[in-house]
Symmetry: C2
Subunit: 343 residues, 2 copies
DNA sequence: TTGAAAGCGCTAACAA
DNA sequence: TTGTTAGCGCTTTCAA
């Protein structure tokens, strides 16, 4: 089955050495700028390598050094809305092709996850990033990994692990502060399912920020789904029950878009009568919203960047346990423009 | 810099052999079910491996066999709407962790692409999948790769390469046929920018299907952008210029959603007065559309699956040049329900 | 300044 | 049935 020595047509260092008329060891030194070599020799070897299109096999050096400059990125989020930005951030931190990432989509299946982890370990990855799909804590990897693991976005339920998360509560605070600063006083909160970790965190942030501003909430938080339908429904009910509402903070851009449509259809103008802020800053929704939606960006890319950085650090200098939190960022669009001259 | 022999705490086959009281060679045979061994020995070795949590280093076997069971997946599509399904399909074909994929996002930067390719080649990937972002042909990889390359979604401009694409023209035909079959006769086509490959292919499909049905197009194709704003604008203009229009085929779900809103706001009911079909079957848009949108699915996952399959085939049995086309699939939702009893 | 040789973890011939 | 050895492609001592 295994045919040894299937050295493809690729040039090896032996070919380079032969072409340059030096020994393999000398060629190695020349190519890696190590040791003491005559400049002429070095140049000759490099020219030979160039000519042959020599690309050193990192398989060989990995075997030698025990390091592969390779990590695993496990994503559980099938459509990638959350995992992709994390991947991009990780790529930033991993130095654009310095270290490469094996991406594994587990489809939320623990069996598959285990498979992937084993496979990654067999490939001797230097570390693993686990990118979750939601803000809930997730169970740690089943397989005990002999390499560092960093959880991104969804933190590990094990406090001894290293996780990077988004400060969702802080994001809500940002949103409310923005609304207050732009003159809104009657602020409602429409969010996703009751009991959902993100919803809980944001509700906490809303309360905190409203209290700090000396404002009463407009009714209880409105729990529902993450859909536009829910947003439209909530908008209708909200204007009926609290006709004086002048701002709505929504648990997601999707909800916010529904609220925007719902408000418009019940005769309220956005942002003149009611300001709107969503969460996710998901371009296809936020930018197509009428009007374009002010939104809290979860800064997932930065989460990925941090995760990558912490992973490299763990690989080089050991574990950094704990939950590392990344701030959200408010992206202002027209849906929250001040009603009048109030600033 | 390179510290040789940094054998981490991981168990190696030598440890397994020692624990089982056999030689390394014997341990290898036992673990790989090769050679003739006493059953008892095999079991003892396997137990030892189990106990030590031994996972064989594929780095070593890769060096030996010249095959890494690893591929590169280059994506140029930053938000992953097109590349992710391709990745998932590829994972299907690559046998869920049998072969692992390094995912590289080039951000459409040729320099970065070159970097990644070199890095992949250094890691001795068995092959490369290049997942494009649009239906336009793309220039082939700059670096001549000594391994098979398959282009997915965006085909290579070089006909000698192997590409897997979606049959966009066929998708348009599917849409028109569906509309005709459900009794529509005055069918308009609103699409993206003039000159865009996808738009061109779809326009061709529309003409073909209309001609086959013996119908006249309702005016020329409406070229614009891929946005909802364009859809809304087009809907208004369309109903003004062609009040008898009873169906609109849109170049994307986003456009279709704009058209849906535009129609509703000019007093047309969807689907009672006007049926609507989009392209992409992008859940967050198609499902949130009012009403939920019938859409042509590009079958990107199947594109990825094919690409993976062709790549493996190329790795094992050599190159399969040419453009391989995958059919689209119509996903029917309420936006195209028959107006009355006509079937 | 260069070459020769050992060895990374493992498999597969060959020897015992 | 088991052990020994060579070697995959490279880096790095150490000797020349």
């Amino acid at each position: 089955m295994l045919v040894p020595g299937k050295t493809s047509g690729r040039a090896g260092i032996a070919d380079v050495a032969r072409l340059a008329g030096v020994s393999i060891g000398t060629a190695s030194k020349a190519l890696n700028d190590r040791g003491q070599l005559r400049e002429e020799t070095r140049a000759r070897v490099q020219a030979a390598a160039e000519q042959l299109g020599f690309i050193p096999s990192s398989v060989a050096t990995s075997l030698l050094t025990g390091r592969t400059f390779t990590v695993g990125l496990i994503m559980t989020d099938h459509h990638g809305r959350f995992s992709l930005p994390v991947l991009h951030g990780a790529e930033d931190a991993l130095g654009w092709a310095e270290t490469l990432a094996f991406v594994c989509d587990t489809r939320d299946d623990p069996i598959r996850e285990q498979h992937y982890v084993r496979s990654l370990l067999g490939r001797r990855v230097d570390g693993i990033i686990v990118a979750g799909r939601r803000a809930e804590a997730r169970p740690p990897l089943i397989t005990r990994a002999p390499v560092p693991v960093v959880y991104a976005f969804a933190r590990s339920a094990d406090e001894g692990d290293c996780s990077v998360v988004t400060d969702e509560e802080g994001g809500a605070v940002l949103a409310i502060e923005h609304l207050v600063r732009t003159g809104r006083r009657r602020i409602a909160h429409v969010t996703g399912p009751h009991g959902h970790a993100s919803a809980i965190a944001r509700v906490a942030g809303v309360s905190r920020a409203l209290r700090a501003a000396g404002l009463e909430p407009v009714g209880d938080p409105w729990y529902g789904g993450w859909s536009e339908v829910w947003g439209r429904f909530a908008a209708a009910a909200l204007t009926r029950e609290h006709p004086d509402v002048d701002a709505v903070f929504c648990g997601s851009d999707t909800i916010a878009r529904g609220v925007a449509d719902g408000l418009r259809e019940s005769g309220r103008r956005v942002p003149e009568d009611v300001a709107l802020v969503g969460v996710d800053n998901w371009a296809p929704i936020a930018e197509e919203c009428r009007p374009p939606l002010t939104s809290v960006d979860l800064n997932l890319r930065e989460v990925g960047r941090q995760a990558g950085r912490l992973l490299l650090q763990a690989i080089e200098n050991g574990h950094t346990p704990g939950v590392h939190s990344v701030d959200c960022q408010l992206v202002v669009r027209s849906s929250s423009a001040p009603a009048s001259g109030r600033t």
